[in-house]
């Protein structure tokens, strides 16, 4: 993995250049093509941007992220590059504008190197639902990188870029970050504009960051946060100040909430061992460890899948073959829509649209969708109560390390349970950060997760710095 902070000081003292770094990243992408991390690479655009960055460094005009090499998940608009959401439905689609996050990164001097592979429309936990082939884990190519932002996780873990953007609807940044050994931040809902992100489940979706260090995570966070009038759910608050916060001392004795043993008993032993070691590290740094019971754990995943599929069935109705995307020709307009959707969407996307349609349909709305919204309230309230007593809640990111390709495809529910520890943060809208923490006996990375109260993103990064070795 490569870190921007290190490169930036090397660029400043003449040891390397933005052009050199960008060329090295492009080479790495080529050499590691078997991982299938990228769907589009913009070598010319990245090379030109890097040359401009070098000029700015030379002129003393370097911006906050000058020369930072960024990969972008292929459900986020980058003008001038295709956008597919890893679906046949959007093969050939060219976005009209940069997403707000991309615009802000470019304005800060970043070099956009390409678009990363993902589960189709971000629906999956293993990156196997991509219409353009699965992504492979860089540590062991017979294993998955996690999903849905698998390509972004691999791009950072394998040194193809400094940082990558992903989207997290139920764990799609944190779970692949854990499986690949990077940091993965899902910010508070509303802190990062979703303008230019293809919607999956609008009340849960959040753009976030993969990085090899906390410092790089914080540097990007400070640039992409802040109000955006183009997103009606964007928080009106100011941009983040994570770099300042992670460098400052903790204000008061730290209280870390941990889960009772019963809540983690389904985890692999190596993950429990890492979890215990990390708790011990917090303790030696002076933190009080407090066992907390959130409750309602058994309904996290069912609540998530009802809400997410309901919203997806509505959001994906726009792919009707009229204005963009795949069209299957037909003489009748209604048949044309049905034929286009049927031809354009893969199996998991169809399954989720079907479930979402069902839970919103007359006669079942109260039993499923309304119930899930009530459950959402209970889950949010439980978090609010816990954050009155602790500064952060600490738990594993995933119950297992990266599983094998094909291992969980037979039963969708088994696949969905990979998201057991991640979905609740999206339900409550709170920030959550997966921190790489050791490896299992096969060398597969382990990720541990910190969750915090709404808008405590910077504080979470500060707390995570205690786990850095």
């Amino acid at each position: 993995m490569i870190t921007y902070a290190t490169d930036r000081s090397d660029i400043n003292n003449g040891a390397t250049s933005c052009a050199e770094r960008t060329t090295a990243c492009l080479q790495r992408i080529d050499e590691r093509a078997s991982l299938n991390a990228f769907l589009h690479v913009d070598a010319d655009g990245a090379t030109a941007a890097a040359a401009e960055s070098d000029e700015r460094f030379a002129a003393g005009l370097a911006r906050p992220l000058e020369g930072l090499v960024v990969a972008v998940k292929d459900n986020i608009n980058v003008a001038g590059m295709p956008l597919t959401c890893a679906s046949r439905m959007l093969d050939g689609f060219r976005p009209l504008f940069d997403a707000t996050v991309v615009e802000r990164l470019r304005d800060a001097g970043a070099v956009i190197i390409g678009k990363t592979n993902m589960d189709e429309f971000a629906m999956g936990s293993s990156n196997e639902t991509s219409a353009f082939g699965a992504v492979r884990n860089p540590v062991d190519e017979s294993r998955v990188p996690g999903g849905s932002s698998g390509g972004s996780a691999v791009a950072v873990a394998d040194g193809m870029c400094h940082v990558a953007l992903g989207s997290d609807t139920g764990g799609s940044i944190r779970q692949p970050a854990a499986f690949c050994g990077t940091y993965g931040l899902k910010p508070t809902y509303g802190r990062v504009s979703r303008y230019g992100l293809v919607a999956f489940a609008s009340s849960l979706d959040q753009i976030g960051i993969f990085a090899s260090s906390l410092h790089d995570t914080a540097a990007v966070f400070d640039v992409i946060t802040g109000h955006d009038p183009m997103d009606a759910t964007s928080d009106p608050g100011a941009a983040g100040r994570a770099l300042d916060v992670i460098a400052s001392p903790h204000a008061s004795p730290l209280r870390i909430g941990v889960l009772p043993r019963t809540a983690i008993q389904g985890c692999e032993p190596a993950i429990i061992t890492a979890y215990d070691e990390a708790i011990e590290r917090f303790r030696t740094k002076g933190a009080a460890i407090i066992e907390v019971a959130l409750g309602h754990e058994e309904i996290w995943v069912p609540t998530y899948f009802i809400l997410a599929t309901a919203e997806a069935s509505s959001n994906l109705a726009r792919f009707d073959g009229v204005r963009y995307g795949l069209r299957a020709e037909h003489t009748d307009i209604s048949d044309m829509t049905t034929a286009s959707k049927t031809a354009g969407f893969g199996a998991e996307v169809k399954r989720r649209i079907m479930l979402g349609t069902y839970v919103l349909s007359s006669g079942y709305y109260d039993a499923y969708y309304r119930k899930a919204q009530q459950a959402r309230r209970l889950i949010s309230d439980a978090y609010n109560a816990v954050f009155a007593d602790v500064d952060a809640l600490f738990m594993p990111t995933t119950p297992t390390t990266a599983f094998s390709l094909g291992e969980r495809n037979a039963d969708p529910v088994t696949m969905w349970l990979s998201d057991y520890f991640t979905v609740s943060a999206n339900i409550a809208g709170i920030p959550a950060l997966s921190v790489p923490f050791g490896k299992d006996a096969s060398g597969l990375p382990i990720g541990l997760q910190l969750q915090g109260a709404l808008f405590h993103d910077e504080r979470l990064m500060q707390i995570a710095s205690l786990l850095e070795s």
Binding site: L96, A232, P302, V322, Y324, L326, S361, L378, L454
Partner: protein, 93 residues
């Protein structure tokens, strides 16, 4: 959940499930519903449904003309177009 139920949901979702796949799809759907239906075990009488997580309401802006996509740009990704319009099969007989 029988094959007729699956066909009805598919129709609502504007999807078509091949006849040969209906049985397997119904069985899988049944399993998924059993699983997500477990939320019904939790008593939720009197709990107010939560529809969004942030308290922002009625975001408005000044009604002024701004820069948007040109007609040409807006039609750039259209599968079929005719002059300044998206082209679709005949809607009214």
């Amino acid at each position: 959940m029988n094959t007729a139920d699956i066909q009805r949901i598919a129709e609502l979702a504007r999807l078509s499930i091949p006849e040969a796949d209906l049985e397997a799809f119904a069985a899988q759907f049944e399993r998924i519903l059993d699983y997500v239906g477990t939320i019904n075990a939790l008593p939720m009488d009197g709990v107010e449904p939560q529809t969004s997580i942030n308290a922002i309401e009625n975001v408005t802006r000044e009604d002024v003309v701004g820069e948007t996509a040109s007609t040409e740009e807006a039609l750039r990704n259209a599968p079929k177009k005719n002059e300044a319009f998206f082209k679709v099969p005949k809607v009214l007989g």
